[in-house]
Amino acid sequence: MSEDKKAFSRRKFLKRGAIALGGTVVASYLGCNPTRRFIAQKVENMDLPASISSFNPDFWFQILPDNHILLKSPKVEMGQGIFTGFAMMAAEELNVPLEQMRVEHANTATGIEDELGTGGSNSTSGLFKPIREMAAILREMLKLAAATIWKVPVNQVVTQNGILQYGDKKMTFFECVTATKSWVVPKTPALKPASEFKYIGKEVKRVDLKDKVMGTAKYTIDTHFPNMVYATMLPCPYFNAKLKSVKTAAAEQSPDVLKVVQQNGWCAVVAKTQYAALSAAQKLEATWDVPKLWQQAEMEAMVTVGKGNAVNVQKVGNAQSTLENGAGQVYKQAFRTPFGTHAPMEVNGTVAHVTKDMAIIVVGTQNTVPNKALIAKALGLDKKMVDIQIPYLGGGFGRKGRMGNVVETALLSKIMGRPVKMMFTREQEFQNSFYRPLTHHVLSAKIGEKGDIQAITHDQASPDMILKHIMGNSLPLKLLGADFISSGHGASLLYNIPNKSATLWNTEVPVPVGIWRGVGMYPNTFATESFMNELAHQTKKDAIDFRIGLLTDTKDEIAQRAKKVLEVLKEKSGWTTAKPAGIGRGVSIANDRKSIAGSVVEVAIVEGKIKVQRVTQVLDVGMILNPEGIRAQMEGCVMMGISGALYEVVTIKDSQISVSNFHELPLATLMDVPDIQTVILANAHEPYGVGEPPLAPIAPAIAGAILDLTGKMLRNLPLKL
């Protein structure tokens, strides 16, 4: 039986227990394991280190005195709309109006910890079953308790809108909770069939909408504690330097400065105001020990196919032999994607309130568990005494989770004996961070004499994005040879070609690198789908028909869903209609952990620059949970995709990061908004991810449109004419 079934047993439920706290029922639940499943899907039959395979995300419900139901989320809301999806799922089984649900972040003091953090587009789809099962159990617990109070058969107790009812007798959930001392936990009831869904799959308003429009939504930097002071870190101008010495006298004399703190290689100013701290930090005179001044060309030379460890991640038939032998033409091209920065509009920040035996840490983090362990260790506290509280995140995209100076802020609070707020400046956010790594791709195809594709190979070079951060050391990378989870995400080839192979080449770079929205799908789809556009062009075939012709395996569910996405794209985008003069059309698709995303893009060249005029996005999410949330993510991916394809680039010079603020990192703006059409499909029996899949196809579709318009292929991001 599957992991899910085992995890949902009554025994496991009771292991966490249903407990009464201050007149409210709190039921927490050892849920199924979506993060582990996500990893397992990626690595299939490979053995993983134990720490990777034992994630146990929990969550809980609480009935509030106003009879609202609070769901504490282990996953963080950074704009993806997951709180809305969670509220919909819970309301469905609890049989309450959506307005009766509240969703908040769990804080770690309640025992809810999510080992892998929020990412991988799996929050809503992964918790689709656990949240509904938990809500159904809670509903039945309330009915059992009401039946006991009224001394009536439980099967005659009904509940609607948070009211329990038997004949003329009525009570609210909260009244039931306050009158119940001992709870009976039933077996997991049958879940509502999809045909009876009232919210799931329907149009609802975001639950965080009003707070965000009225300006009352709270983010980390909006946190205030009485007696709080402000800190700023001495920024390091290099990514590989160690602090040698720092002259602090001038900063210490600066108005309203309380203390300049120097510890293990870092320095911070603490002052009465943010302004005083920032002003004083400019008076610090630091010298840095820079072991080597690295250059961009060296990074590109390191991250090149053929260098480092090679790990094959896909092997069908014998691609290499087919390329080397027999008649036909070998077509080979290379692609590059640059370093990237996340640039969330909210910079990283932390508010720490550390007392002798307790630490309250307010931080918008995608990774609570590693942060908690690091804070506990640094403060010499038991992990139970570290409470991480999470406000809304002002964007994440992979950035919020590490290298946020959370530990340093906790130490500053301990040293100062009062709450401390520390936030990055934008310059620190851009320069003292980690980056999406640069990648290099070499693709080769054997084109038969009739224009048929007989073999295709994809060799990809990238540094590791995740393995060394999961374990905190390089052991998994050594064991596994390359990062097939993240860097290798999307490296395999989708199409039914008789001989195909994908190989990852791992070389580590001195620049800190990590996950960026879309993970490996983003660079890999750019390379593989651009290459597909080139092959269609080379063989004089229509780029959509060419792909459909290579999705022939009727037993391959992914191939068939991909084929359907292409067919819908062709129809909805007007692909076969006459193109206006000066317009090029391009297409791309991607299978991102079973979500199939496809884009058709129309571009023009306006005043010598690429202008995306129109985008048709089709996304097969398997099963639709929150259509409005899906559309928002698709639209967001169009804009981030255009931004990455046309503008964004981070380079290295003398061990420094090329961008310091937004004037050096042009991003898509209102000027770049194309006509966007979104189409959502549901061609499977379970939901898949939404937040990242629609991003990857944008850049290769734009490159394909430029190829269509000009006959010239652009093989490096960002695309430059």
């Binding site: 950074m78 704009g79 993806q80 709309g81 308003k205 975001r206 965080d208 909408l209 009003k210 965000k212 429009v213 009225m214 300006g215 009352t216 939504a217 709270k218 983010y219 930097i221 909006d222 205030h224 402000y230 108005p255 309203d256 105001t273 943010q274 302004y275 005083a276 640039a343 969330p344 509009m345 909210e346 910079v347 809304y392 995140l393 002002g394 964007g395 994440g396 936030m423 400046t425 934008r426 310059e427 409005e628 928002a632 639209e635 967001g636 991916c637 169009v638 804009m639 981030m640 603020n661 937004f662 004037h663 991003l667 898509a668 703006t669 209102l670 000027m671 770049d672 908004v673 966007i676």
Partner: protein, 150 residues
């Protein structure tokens, strides 16, 4: 230095360094946190607010400038304001962080140009959003213009 001004119709009486950016005075001293820090260099617009009806990026203007003037932040726009209504209707925000700045820029635009064309909206609102809500922002500004007319 003692600095007095009005903010959202209320008296603000501060004793701060006159060179402190207005952003920090509004956020940290007056605890009005809708106005956000994004870049500190007037590049992103997250800190946009109005002073005597004119639009400013408050990270790059000193608190002293507000002396004796009327400052308006997002908190000062009523819930029924066409901009807020349009933002609700079109469900613009995702992470929401940059939206107060966009809304304040949009409110100013409609005040001076009640019926902006798409190009005028694009040229006048130069704020940055990373979630990619730009297409809804364009629609919401147009919708707010319609609501203003009614």
């Amino acid at each position: 230095m003692k600095i007095n001004f009005k903010i959202n119709g209320q008296d603000a009486n501060l004793d701060v360094d006159p060179q402190m950016p207005l952003l920090w005075a509004v956020r940290d001293e007056l605890k009005l946190t809708a106005t956000k820090y994004g870049c500190g260099k007037a590049l992103c617009g997250a800190c946009t607010l109005h002073i005597d009806g004119e639009m400013f990026r408050s990270c790059s203007i000193s608190v002293e400038y507000a002396l004796g003037k009327n400052v308006t932040t997002l908190e000062g726009l009523p819930e029924s304001h066409p901009i807020k209504q349009a933002w609700m209707e079109l469900q613009v925000p995702q992470c929401g962080y940059c939206q107060p700045g966009f809304m304040m820029a949009a409110a100013k635009l409609l005040q001076t140009n009640p019926h902006p064309t798409e190009v005028e909206i694009q040229q006048n609102i130069t704020n940055i959003c990373r979630c990619g809500t730009q297409s809804r922002i364009l629609k919401a500004v147009k919708r707010a213009a319609e609501l203003t007319q009614k």
